[in-house]
Symmetry: C2
Subunit: 108 residues, 2 copies
């Protein structure tokens, strides 16, 4: 069984879950209301995310909030590093800074 971050983000539902809990920790119940699948299906995705150490459960009464382990996302970023020099010129920090300032006043 491969259990790594790349497996974790392979599924579109899982990517959506990751994006949601990046904003705030959420319960399986709350999460399942965002999708057309059962709570149990969402739970299985969460279970996999926990195995991959992408999310961690935090119990609060009878609810369990799943929180994103943001550091895990860095592993993807790190893997991308080897390709970045092949495409990025704007990875120059100053370029990035100026570009963002010129085209984006609002965060997202």
């Amino acid at each position: 069984m491969r259990r790594d971050i790349f497996q974790a983000i392979a599924d579109p539902t899982r990517r959506a879950i990751i994006a949601l809990i990046a904003l705030q920790p959420m319960t399986p119940n709350a999460l399942s209301q965002e999708f057309d699948i059962t709570r149990q299906a969402v739970s299985k995705h969460l279970q996999l995310l926990v195995e991959c150490e992408v999310a961690t459960p935090h119990q609060q009464g009878r609810e369990i909030f799943y929180r994103l382990e943001i550091d895990k996302m860095k592993e993807i970023d790190h893997w991308l590093e080897q390709f970045r020099k092949n495409w990025e010129r704007r990875y120059n920090q100053l370029d990035e800074l100026l570009n963002t300032l010129n085209t984006n006043k609002n965060e997202q």
Copy 2:
């Protein structure tokens, strides 16, 4: 059938293939010598990469060189963008500047 870049990088062999053809275009035969699987298995990975538009075949005589479409890797980078502000020092620079420009709400 999900055919996207995230599916493409889910498999470790495929990630290795991507890393290899990032250095130079390679043939299925040459690639298969780098792994403990058959040429046909490598070919199937290449086929999927082509479907995902991560690699493109370039015939040269009876050989077919597979070349990495580096731009596709940017899609991963773009998806990561939403998380990056949560972790990156070099983006904190930007955050700090934006906060200052926005009459600042809160530091850090």
